[in-house]
C-alpha cells in the first residue's frame, strides 16, 4: 500500500514537472536555448491565479488569465530578450536567461512581498476516495489538467497545419522557410504554448500548496533543466517520460535515501548516472 501511495505521489509530482519541462523542451528544440527564465513565468502563473481568484472568486477566470497572460508574456520575453542573441554561443542566452530569472524573482518579491500570498478561500480542497486512499480534489484536477493539456498539445502538433509547420521548422528551419512557413510566427507560437503550460503549472502548484511565493520557481527551474536533458534535449516524448520517472524516483528516494542526500540532490544524482550510461539522454532528441 505504501508503495502504491508513493508511486501515485511521484506520478502527481511528475505531471507537474512535465507541464513545466515541456515548454522548456519546446524552446530548446526550436532555438537551442536553455530558457531558465521559464520558471519565472511559472511563478507568475501562480501569482496571476491567486490574485485573480482572490479578487473575483472564479476559478475559471483565474485559470484563463494564468494561461493566456503568461503565454503572452512568454512571447514578449522571446521578442525582447532572445531574438537578438540567437546567433551567439549558447552560454550567452543561458547567462542572459539566468540574469532575467534572478531579476524576475526579485521583482515579484518587491511587488508582492517576500512571505507569499495564500488563497483567502482555498478551492479544490475536498478529499475524494480512490481505492483505499484519499486524494484531494486539487490533486485529481492536476492529473486531469496535465492529461488534457498534453493530449491537446499532441493533437495540435500531429493533426493541424500549424503543428505541421511547427514540426517542419524544428526538423529543418531553412527548408521549412523555403516552403513558405514564417519562422518568426512559429517561434511566437512556440513560446506562447510553452509559457502557457508553465503558467498553468504555477497556478496548480499555488492551489495545491495554498501558497505562492517569489522563490517557488527556483527549484523547478533547475530541475526542469535536468528533466529535459534526461529526456534527450528537445524530445517532447522523452521529456514526459523523464518527468514522470523523476517524480517517482524522488518520492521513493526521499524515503530510502533521505539521510544521505536531500530531495533536490536525488534528481541530479539520477541525472548524472543516466548521462554516464547514455550521454545523449534517454531518448534521441533533435
Amino acid at each position: 500500500m505504501l508503495y502504491l501511495e508513493l508511486f501515485l505521489q511521484g506520478l502527481l509530482q511528475g505531471s507537474i514537472y512535465a507541464l513545466i519541462a515541456v515548454g522548456l523542451t519546446l524552446v530548446y528544440g526550436l532555438l537551442r536555448i536553455l530558457h531558465v527564465a521559464h520558471a519565472g513565468l511559472y511563478t507568475l502563473g501562480g501569482y496571476f491565479g491567486v490574485l485573480v481568484f482572490n479578487s473575483t472568486g472564479s476559478l475559471m477566470l483565474s485559470g484563463i488569465v494564468a494561461m493566456f497572460g503568461v503565454g503572452i508574456l512568454g512571447v514578449i520575453i522571446y521578442r525582447l530578450c532572445y531574438e537578438a542573441i540567437l546567433d551567439q554561443p549558447p552560454y550567452v542566452p543561458l547567462i542572459a536567461s539566468i540574469g532575467l530569472f534572478i531579476a524576475m524573482e526579485e521583482l515579484y518579491r518587491i511587488l508582492f512581498g517576500s512571505y507569499g500570498i495564500s488563497y483567502t478561500n482555498p478551492p479544490l480542497q475536498q478529499m475524494l476516495p480512490l481505492g483505499g486512499m484519499y486524494l484531494r480534489e486539487g490533486e485529481w484536477v492536476t492529473i486531469l489538467v496535465s492529461i488534457i493539456l498534453i493530449g491537446s498539445l499532441a493533437w495540435l502538433s500531429i493533426r493541424t497545419r500549424l503543428g505541421l509547420a511547427w514540426r517542419a521548422t524544428v526538423t529543418d528551419p531553412q527548408m521549412a522557410e523555403s516552403f513558405g512557413i514564417d519562422p518568426i510566427r512559429v517561434r511566437y507560437f512556440n513560446f506562447f504554448i510553452g509559457s502557457a503550460l508553465a503558467g498553468t503549472a504555477g497556478m496548480i502548484v499555488g492551489i495545491l500548496n495554498n501558497l505562492v511565493e517569489p522563490t517557488m520557481g527556483s527549484v523547478p527551474s533547475y530541475k526542469a533543466l535536468a528533466i529535459i536533458v534526461l529526456g534527450g534535449l528537445g524530445s517532447v516524448r522523452g521529456t514526459l517520460v523523464a518527468a514522470l520517472m523523476l517524480g517517482v524516483v524522488e518520492s521513493f528516494g526521499t524515503i530510502y535515501l533521505g539521510n544521505v542526500l536531500n530531495r533536490d540532490a536525488i534528481a541530479f544524482v539520477f541525472l548524472i548516472l543516466v548521462l554516464m550510461v547514455r550521454p545523449q539522454g534517454m531518448f534521441r532528441g533533435v
Binding site: 549558447p90 540574469g99 532575467l100 534572478i102 531579476a103 524573482e105 539521510n259 550521454p279
Partner: protein, 288 residues
C-alpha cells in the same frame, strides 16, 4: 582601514576563483555551471584540516589536491557528454555537492564549519598572500595561453572533432584543463575559508557558481584582463549597492541580462568595439 583590507582580500579571492573557471570555460570551451562546488571542496578540506592542527599551507595544498581530483572526475564526465549536456551535468555536480554536505554531521550539516583558526599572518599579511596568489594565477594563465597547450585549448573550444582529426589528444588536454582549473578553485576556497573563518553550505550555493561564470562571461570569455576587471567589479558591487539594499539582486540580475543582451562579448568585446585599433584592444584581445 580594516574594512578596505578585507574587501581587497575578498576581491583577490574572487579573481582567483574566476580565473580558475576561465581556464576551463574561457580557454578550453567547456562551460561549467558548478564551479563553486570545487571552491567548496577546497574550503571544507582546508578548514577541517587546520581545525585538526595541520599547518595552514599544508591544508591549503590538500584542499587544492582534493578539489583537483574531484575535478578530474568531472573532466572524465566531460569526455562522455558535451555542450549543453555538460553544462547541465556540472550544474548537477553543484547540487549533489550541496545535497551531500548538508546531510553530513561531521561536515557540520546545515550549520557549517565555524571558528576556523587564524592562519597567523595578520590581516595585511593575508592580503599579501592572496594578492601573491592572484599574480601567480594570472601569470600561469598567460603562460598557458602562449604555450602549445593554450593553442590546443583554442582548437578544442573551437571545434573538438576537427582538433581530434588533427591528431591532438583532446581527452588529455580536457582533463588537464579540469584538473588545473578545479585545483585553483580549491585554492580560492581554502583562502576564502580562512578569510571569513566560517563556512556553511549556502556559501557554495548554485547562485555562487553563476556569479563566477558571470565574472568570466562579463569580462569576456577567455580574456585574462577582462576577467580580472569583471571579477574585481562584480565582487565589490554588492557592497557598493548596500545603499539600495532591497534592490541589490534585482540590479545584479538585470546587469547580467543587459550585458549579455547588448554586449555578448563582455567587457573585452566592448573595449574592442570602442577602441578598435588601440593598445587596449591587444591587451584585451580574446584568444579566439
Amino acid at each position: 582601514m580594516g574594512y578596505e583590507i578585507s574587501l581587497l582580500t575578498f576581491m583577490g579571492i574572487s579573481i582567483i576563483g574566476s580565473l580558475s573557471l576561465n581556464l576551463i570555460t574561457g580557454f578550453c570551451g567547456q562551460v561549467s555551471l558548478g564551479h563553486v562546488a570545487f571552491v567548496g571542496i577546497g574550503a571544507y578540506t582546508a578548514s577541517i584540516l587546520t581545525k585538526a592542527d595541520t599547518p595552514f599551507f599544508v591544508a591549503l595544498l590538500a584542499g587544492m589536491l582534493l578539489a583537483g581530483s574531484f575535478g578530474v572526475m568531472v573532466g572524465l564526465a566531460s569526455l562522455r557528454v558535451r555542450h549543453d549536456f555538460l553544462a547541465i551535468t556540472t550544474m548537477g555536480v553543484n547540487f549533489v555537492f550541496l545535497g551531500v554536505v548538508r546531510q553530513q554531521e561531521w561536515l557540520g550539516g546545515e550549520l557549517g564549519v565555524s571558528s576556523i583558526p587564524d592562519p597567523g599572518l595578520g590581516k595585511l599579511g593575508f592580503l599579501a598572500l592572496v594578492l601573491g596568489c592572484v599574480i601567480l594565477v594570472a601569470l600561469l594563465s598567460l603562460q598557458i595561453r602562449r604555450s602549445w597547450m593554450g593553442y590546443v585549448f583554442v582548437a578544442v573550444s573551437g571545434d573538438e572533432d576537427t582538433a581530434r582529426m588533427l591528431g591532438l589528444d583532446v581527452s588529455r588536454y580536457k582533463l588537464i584543463a579540469f584538473a588545473l582549473g578545479t585545483a585553483l578553485a580549491g585554492l580560492s576556497g581554502g583562502l576564502y575559508a580562512h578569510h571569513v573563518r566560517f563556512i556553511f553550505p549556502d556559501s557554495f550555493a548554485f547562485v555562487e557558481s553563476i556569479t563566477l561564470l558571470a565574472m568570466v562571461v562579463i569580462g569576456g570569455n577567455g580574456s585574462i584582463l577582462g576577467v580580472i576587471v569583471a571579477s574585481a567589479l562584480l565582487s565589490v558591487l554588492p557592497q557598493w549597492f548596500q545603499f539600495i539594499g532591497d534592490y541589490k539582486l534585482l540590479l545584479y540580475g538585470s546587469l547580467l541580462f543587459v550585458v549579455m543582451r547588448f554586449s555578448p562579448g563582455g567587457l573585452a568585446g566592448l573595449a574592442k568595439n570602442i577602441f578598435p585599433k588601440s593598445k587596449i584592444y591587444f591587451a584585451l584581445k580574446e584568444n579566439q
